[in-house]
């Protein structure tokens, strides 16, 4: 029922989204922790920068990525000279676009869960002999798990749906950057490809729905026995 081309599109979308989320998870948690716990100069600016992709048109985000990662852009030139690599018109570029667009959602979910951790429990752990790092590892991090899971799944769903920044940044190249939404858009331009549009759209809905259900199940398991509700 699915053509080899369609299976390839789905696998590419999954690869791009999984790599994007895996790459931003530690970064998101670090930023979320800083925003939730630390007062430092530039905190408001960091908060605004992280949220920027949520509010500017995705085509602008894509264009900014193009400027940064292009051959003459600051990041692009650096990648080229050090690794001889480029992300232009590659699936890695699509993953970068997905990651940037997902970042506000992952940071937000994680920040809320870190803020919800009762700091009095952390004080109690200190009096029991735990160093601040041990407290982080054994109290703060485990109690924030539901938010980390929620953030990862939201980020994944956002990545699967990413369109505007991707097509602007790395174009719509079959096998490299033509993810599900780009393929659906492409098929819509072709007369008689309605069946493909329908099939790919159904797959999109199933992936997003599946992600949400998995997140709910994981969050429930993480919350088992604790009383406190999650998500």
């Amino acid at each position: 029922m699915l053509s080899a081309e369609e299976v390839g599109i789905i696998m590419l979308s999954l690869k791009v989204s999984i790599v994007a989320v895996a790459a931003i998870l530690p970064l998101s948690f670090g930023i979320a922790w800083l925003l939730a716990r630390k007062r430092f100069p530039g905190r408001v600016l960091l908060d605004a920068l992280v949220h920027l992709p949520l509010v500017v048109p995705p085509v602008v985000t894509g264009w900014l990525l193009l400027l940064a990662f292009g051959r003459n852009g600051p990041v692009g030139a650096w990648l080229e000279s050090w690794f001889g690599a480029t992300v232009m018109f590659r699936w890695t570029g699509a993953a970068i676009a997905a990651a940037v667009m997902a970042l506000p959602l992952t940071v937000r979910a994680m920040r809320l869960s870190i803020e919800a951790v009762d700091r009095r429990l952390e004080s109690a752990a200190r009096t029991l002999g735990a160093t601040p790092f041990h407290v982080f590892r054994t109290i703060t991090l485990p109690l924030a798990v539901p938010g980390i899971v929620a953030g990862a799944v939201l980020g994944f769903a956002r990545s699967i749906g990413e369109f505007g920044a991707t097509i602007t940044f790395v174009s719509n190249i079959p096998g490299e950057t033509r993810t599900l939404p780009l393929a659906i858009y492409g098929a819509l331009q072709v007369p008689g490809a309605e069946a493909m549009v329908t099939r790919l759209s159904i797959i999109s809905v199933i992936l997003s729905l599946g992600a949400l259900i998995v997140s709910e199940l994981l969050a429930r398991r993480a919350g088992h026995g604790r009383g406190g509700h999650v998500l």
């Binding site: 009096t127 002999g129 604790r226 009383g227």
Partner: protein, 212 residues
């Protein structure tokens, strides 16, 4: 200032949110009760003894060890003070079963400094049957006994108790009071105890310090 034999020797002051909390007292062995109205800063004094709040100036020596001294530039972090802190609200870790809560501080203590085992603690406090339970399934009295056990297992040199009875009904209060009397009389640990209940303090305290 008290002599070297004092269990508690505090001379501290701190300004928090516009109010100044200052106290100077020395007390011998047994249970020393800080007694006074709510909002007088009793809990803040416990937090300073535990290292959770830093005094602006002064000195804290407990059971013969200086934990804080602005003049000598000493300020031991909470994890190095070996305080067994029993909080008003229990503060059991919700993601760990009772057994893992009890062993949290035990695992971090220097084995040579441990002076009580898990079996002894569960016998002493009557909580052996609770070991596999989650904290949220415990009654107030059970949770407070687990909290006391967790503090004892962390190999403390002294105990800090912040109104450990206040969230309990009358029957449970009696039960925990008996536990505290046993801790005071059989374990020989100096205890700094905060309360605003006169009857409770008169029954439990070896020394009473009025605060506020």
């Amino acid at each position: 200032m008290g002599g070297a034999a004092m269990s508690f020797d505090l001379d501290i002051s701190v300004a928090l949110g516009g109010t100044r909390i200052a106290t100077t007292f020395s007390a011998g062995p047994g249970l020393t009760a800080l007694f006074g109205p709510s909002g007088a800063g009793k809990t803040t004094i416990l937090n300073m003894a535990a290292g959770l709040v830093r005094p602006d100036s002064g000195r804290i020596a407990i059971a013969g060890e200086t934990l804080f001294d602005t003049a000598a530039d000493i300020d031991r972090p909470p994890e190095a003070r070996r305080a067994g802190y029993v909080f008003q609200d229990g503060r059991l870790f919700p993601h760990r079963r009772v057994r893992a809560n009890l062993l949290y501080g035990e695992a971090l203590a220097d084995p040579a400094q441990r002076w009580i085992t898990l079996d002894e603690v569960t016998d002493f406090l009557g909580i052996a049957h609770l070991l596999d339970r989650w904290p949220r399934t415990l009654s107030g009295g059970e949770a407070q006994r687990v909290a006391i056990g967790r503090a004892l297992l962390s190999a403390p040199r002294f105990l800090l108790m912040d109104e450990p009875l206040s969230s309990l009904d009358a029957a449970r209060r009696e039960e925990i009071m008996l536990v505290i009397e046993r801790v005071r009389d059989t374990l020989g640990l100096p205890i700094l105890y905060v309360s605003h209940d006169r009857a409770e303090v008169e029954r439990l305290a070896t020394t009473i310090i009025a605060i506020g």
